[in-house]
């Protein structure tokens, strides 16, 4: 039993090390002379365009639910004083839920997409064909997606957070009669919340294509292999988002001495 645990631990360690190598490789690709701006734009378009509607819908609904639940809780504590709902919600949305929920949704959509694309290239030997022309697959395939994902995740997180806040405002007004002027109050937002927003969005944006690309490049077999790669990518990137959220939030807590 101990040996099995040990073996799984060393296997996991090996996997994480390989994943890290992919990340470094992708970053290194940034500094190599590559005149492939067209591909970068195409990747950004793919990530951004295809995900906007999805994101707006999911975050819109989640915003409504969260506000609803919060108002419900608050009414049992403070009677009908909902003045804190708007300001507190936007504070939490910026520093956590906005980027994280955007990240989770993108991990699903974008992560699966990238793994499916790269995975099917792997099983049809296109990756080997690239290598035969002297191309480094990580450079060529993952680096543009890395850059595109960081930029688009940041942009989409903004969209998602705004949508969440707005839909929450709608719920607060129509279900609990909260005055929009009181709700839409950003006075509690501080620089550190925005810093958390940017840090998390960038972190998630970087993690998703690296994990998904890693899974795609590992695909073996044929259609089965692509299925496995896509599944692993969704799980891996979603989990990465949660882990990063936890680590960044905990680190922020330490740095600011417990004052979020």
């Amino acid at each position: 039993m101990i040996t099995r645990l040990g073996r799984s631990a060393s296997f996991l360690g090996g996997e994480i090390r390989d994943l890290w190598m992919v990340y470094i490789g992708a970053l290194a690709g940034l500094f190599r002379k590559s005149r492939r701006r067209g591909d970068l734009v195409r990747q950004m378009f793919q990530i951004g365009n295809r995900s906007v509607v999805f994101l707006v819908v999911t975050l819109g609904f989640i915003g409504m639910v969260m506000t609803y639940e919060a108002c419900l809780q608050l009414s049992s504590v403070t009677g009908n004083d909902f003045s804190m709902i708007g300001p507190q919600f936007i504070r939490l949305a910026i520093s956590d839920f906005g980027p994280t929920l955007t990240g989770m949704m993108l991990a699903t959509r974008v992560g699966a997409g990238i793994a499916a694309e790269i995975g099917s290239m792997k099983v049809t030997e296109q990756i080997d064909a690239l290598r035969m022309s002297g191309v480094l697959p990580i450079d060529y395939l993952i680096t543009p997606r890395l850059v595109a994902s960081i930029v688009m995740t940041l942009a989409l997180a903004v969209v998602g957070t705004v949508v969440m806040y707005a839909s929450g405002g709608l719920t607060a007004k129509y279900s609990f009669g909260v005055n929009p002027n009181i709700y839409f109050d950003i006075s509690l937002v501080r620089l550190r919340h925005v810093a958390l927003f940017v840090t998390k969005s960038v972190a998630y944006g970087a993690a998703i294509p690296v994990v998904a690309g890693f899974c795609g490049l590992r695909a073996r077999g044929s259609s089965e292999g692509v299925g496995w790669a896509t599944t692993a990518a969704v799980i891996g990137s979603s989990f990465a988002v949660i882990m990063l959220d936890f680590v960044i939030s905990a680190a922020a807590l330490f740095v600011t001495g417990g004052d979020l």
Partner: protein, 255 residues
């Protein structure tokens, strides 16, 4: 004496418990045309990949165009591989590029060509494989035979020193098979490149290559002139080439 184009010496490769290559030694001299045959799943494609450094051997040495591959990083291998053209068994065409994009790819990677010259060379290649005018087609619009020919065009467009063909005529009708081999022969006569070809169609292959190696249960058990392969001294080889049911060939794979 220049170094052989490909030299494998006592190469071993296993996948999990399966010993796919069990001490393979093979030399392909410069300018020679060598064929590789063997039962299904005997490791022929693996051998080709090892020769190009796409996979690493577990033991033994591999030299490509005179350079040892051991210990070379992926980026160093890239420079070597640009001098090699490869046709993959399942074509491995880039589905995110058009036909022209696919054929132009090796040239673009090499760099140093003006756009007009590049386009002209691509067009010439496509004409040579009988696909003139297909530049803008998507790979999904092509039939199997057409994909094979695009693959051949891509493998030969950069006038490589070594061309590797993995099953150039599998799944094609006899007439197309003949056309493909005529095309490969014409190319090789023009460039003097070294050729290493894997095929299950021994008869057609034998007309194209000079000698044939037989890979069986992880080893090269025979190497001899193509013309007389059907009368080889080894009964295993004879049975395989003639397609006879009775004989020493076993059903189960090696390892």
């Amino acid at each position: 004496m220049t170094a052989p184009a490909v030299r494998l010496h006592d190469v071993h490769k296993r996948y999990g418990d399966r010993r796919v290559l069990d001490g393979v030694s093979l030399d392909v001299a410069r300018g020679a045309r060598v064929g590789l045959i063997g039962p299904a799943a005997s490791g022929k494609s693996v051998l080709l990949k090892l020769a190009c450094g796409l996979e690493r051997a577990d033991a033994g040495s591999v030299e490509l165009l005179g350079e040892p591959l051991a210990g070379k990083a992926e980026s160093e291998l890239g420079a070597l591989r640009k001098r090699v053209g490869m046709l993959f068994q399942n074509y491995a065409l880039f589905d995110f590029l058009t036909v022209a994009g696919n054929v132009a790819f090796p040239l673009e990677r090499r760099g140093g060509m003006a756009a007009a010259d590049l386009a002209a060379q691509v067009a010439a290649r496509l004409r040579a494989v009988g696909l003139a005018g297909s530049e803008d087609k998507q790979t999904s619009e092509l039939s199997g035979g057409m994909k094979k020919r695009v693959g051949i065009a891509r493998a030969t467009v950069a006038d490589a020193e070594l061309v590797v063909y993995d099953e150039p005529t599998a799944g094609l009708d006899p007439v197309t098979t003949q056309k493909i081999y005529d095309l490969l022969a014409a190319d090789q006569a023009r460039t003097g490149a070294t050729v290493l070809a894997v095929s299950s169609d021994v008869a057609a292959l034998a007309q194209f290559v000079d000698d044939i190696a037989f890979l069986y249960r992880g080893r090269i058990i025979y190497r001899g002139p193509a013309r007389t392969i059907a009368d080889a001294p080894d009964p295993l080889v004879r049975q395989f080439v003639r397609g006879e049911l009775a004989g020493p060939l076993e059903d189960k794979p090696a390892g």
